[in-house]
Each structure stands twice: as C-alpha cells, then as structure tokens.
C-alpha cells in the first residue's frame, strides 16, 4: 500500500515536471509548478522529513508561486 502510494506520487511528479517544460502558457506553467511543489511536499512527509515538507509547502508551493506570478504580470504571459 505504502509502496503504491509512493509510486503514484512519483509518476504524478514526473508528469508535472514534463508538463511544466512542455506548456507554452507561463501562467499555466506556474500553476503546474505549484502542484509539483505540493506533490514534492507529500513525498517529503511520506519519507519521514516533516521539516523539509513544511519548507516545501510554504516556500515552494506558496511564496515562489506568488513571485513567479508577479514576474509574469511584469512581462508577457506566453512563451515564444
């Protein structure tokens, strides 16, 4: 059961990573990247590293997403 959970998380993580590179819409890429951080946070927690999981949730899924959104609002939304 635990192993199946791990594998599911890993597959979703890799899917997110590829989707971030493939998508041309930067706003969408930021949202997917935030999902990536959330999955990473679950993996840290499941691997027994709650300290890192908290940092990942607060910094990875929260603050970097906001900063990326701000950067996009200052430039253009679509990648050429």
């Amino acid at each position: 059961m635990s192993k199946a959970f791990d594998i599911t998380l890993m597959v979703l993580l890799i899917t997110c990573a590829i989707a971030v590179i493939r998508t041309k819409d930067l706003l969408g890429a930021v949202v997917i990247f935030s999902t990536y951080s959330l999955l990473m946070c679950l993996i840290w927690q499941h691997r027994g590293a709650p300290d890192v999981a908290m940092t990942e949730a607060a910094v990875g899924a929260g603050i970097t997403t906001v900063l990326f959104l701000l950067a996009i609002s200052k430039t253009v939304r679509r990648e050429k």
């Binding site: 908290m54 701000l70 200052k74």
Partner: protein
C-alpha cells in the same frame, strides 16, 4: 543534428549518475555511511546536549550552527541583490517597481476569508517558530508562513496600507534580524566559552542553550518574513 547531439550529451551525463544511484545503500540501511559516523552521537546525545528534542533543529542550529549562520547571510545578500536590481540603484534607471500593475478589487469572499484566517495563520507561524526545537519546524518555516500572511493581507489591502503594518524604519532592522541574532549569540559564546557560536555542553546550563536557540529561531523567523515580504512588495505587489 543539434537534437541528436543534445540527446547524446544527456545520455552521457545520465548513465554515470544512474550507475551511482544504483550503488547507494538501500534507504534506512543501518550500515550506510550516513548512519555510522556522527549521526549516532547526534541521535543519542542531541536532546540532552544540544537543548532541542527535534534532532533536525539540534543539528541545524547547534552542531552545524556555523553553516546556518552562513545561510542566513546568503538570504540577506539575496535581498540586497533583488533590491539593487529592482530599484536600479547602480544605473539610476527608472525603477521597475514604480510601474502600475493593473489592479483588481478583491471580492467580498476573498476579503472575508483572508480576514477570517489571518489571526489563525499568524498564531500558527509564531507557534512554528517558537516550538521548532521540540516539533518539526523552526525559524525558516515559521518565517515563510508569516511572510505568506503579509502577502495575502496585501491582496485585500492597498499596498501602502499593508506595508504600513511593518513600517520601513523598523523593517530595516527586521531584515537583518537573522544575521544579527546569530552574531549576538555567537559573540556571547565567544565571551563566555571562548569560541564563536559555542554552546554550553553541560546539563546545568541547558536553560542557556534553550534561550540562545530561541533567540536564533526568532531572529531567523522574523528576519525571513521581513525579507520575503520586502521582495514581494518591491517586485510590485499591488493588490
């Protein structure tokens, strides 16, 4: 041609890395090098000696305190770099932060939810900072939570109002709180025990260890929050 070259390069880099990963000991193996050197002592003596029941905090702030001192300096330097670029200090260019961002009035729902949750988030952030030596968490995590609180408050208030929550004169000092806390504790260790950042190792001075750890945790938490919020506001965090 270019794609084939890229693929070949990637494979050449990936193969040794995959080979190296295959050589790693299985996770949780008691004979792996990570568990056989200093960590045995950390786990055994950490709670007693380092004044923190959470071994991660004991390692980060006490045993490897010098590393963390460097890390908080790096975070402060990154703030200085961001400010230098965004405010155009060197070149005297027109500051980027001054450009208006199209702002949308926050809806009633967003405003209500933020107002409802803000006290709970503040309490949680402070709890994570102060309780970091017993449970998972600590200055870095709690600071990030407090910074997110300031950011979501900015979404419902005008930027000027939100920034007024942490006045500029105080913020200047809060931004250097983390290096300052480390410096204070470090010099205290130098004066009392003869080495920079040296903590007491004896049982009857455990209260002093806990006090110093708490000073550093508060410094990292408050300093981190101030730095992250300032970066957000400088990048143009208009509502």
């Amino acid at each position: 041609m270019k794609r084939a070259l890229t693929a070949a390069l990637l494979i050449i880099v990936a193969l040794p890395m995959l080979y190296a990963v295959a050589q790693l000991p299985p996770q949780g193996s008691p004979t792996s090098p990570a568990y056989t050197h200093v960590s045995a002592r950390y786990l055994e003596a950490g709670p007693e000696e380092a004044g923190a029941e959470n071994v991660v905090t004991a390692v980060i702030l006490n045993y490897r305190g010098f590393d963390t001192d460097g890390e908080v300096t790096v975070i402060f330097t990154s703030l200085a770099a961001v400010l230098a670029v965004l405010l155009g200090v060197r070149t005297g260019e027109k500051p980027l932060a001054g450009q208006p961002v199209s702002s949308v009035e926050a809806s009633v729902v967003v405003s209500f939810v933020v107002r409802l949750l803000a006290p709970a988030i503040a309490l949680f952030g402070i709890y994570v900072i102060l309780h970091g030596h017993v449970s998972p968490g600590g200055g870095f995590q709690g600071g990030a939570i407090l910074a997110s609180l300031l950011i979501i408050i900015t979404t419902i208030l005008e930027r000027a109002q939100a920034e007024a929550l942490v006045p500029l004169r105080i913020r200047r000092w809060l931004q250097i709180a983390a290096p300052l806390a480390f410096f204070t504790v470090g010099v205290a260790g130098l004066v009392v025990f003869g080495n920079y950042l040296q903590f007491p190792r004896t049982h009857d001075l455990a209260w002093l260890t806990v006090t110093w750890l708490t000073i550093i945790e508060i410094g990292i938490g408050v300093g981190g929050a101030a730095i992250l919020a300032t970066i957000f506001w400088t990048m143009g965090g208009d509502s």
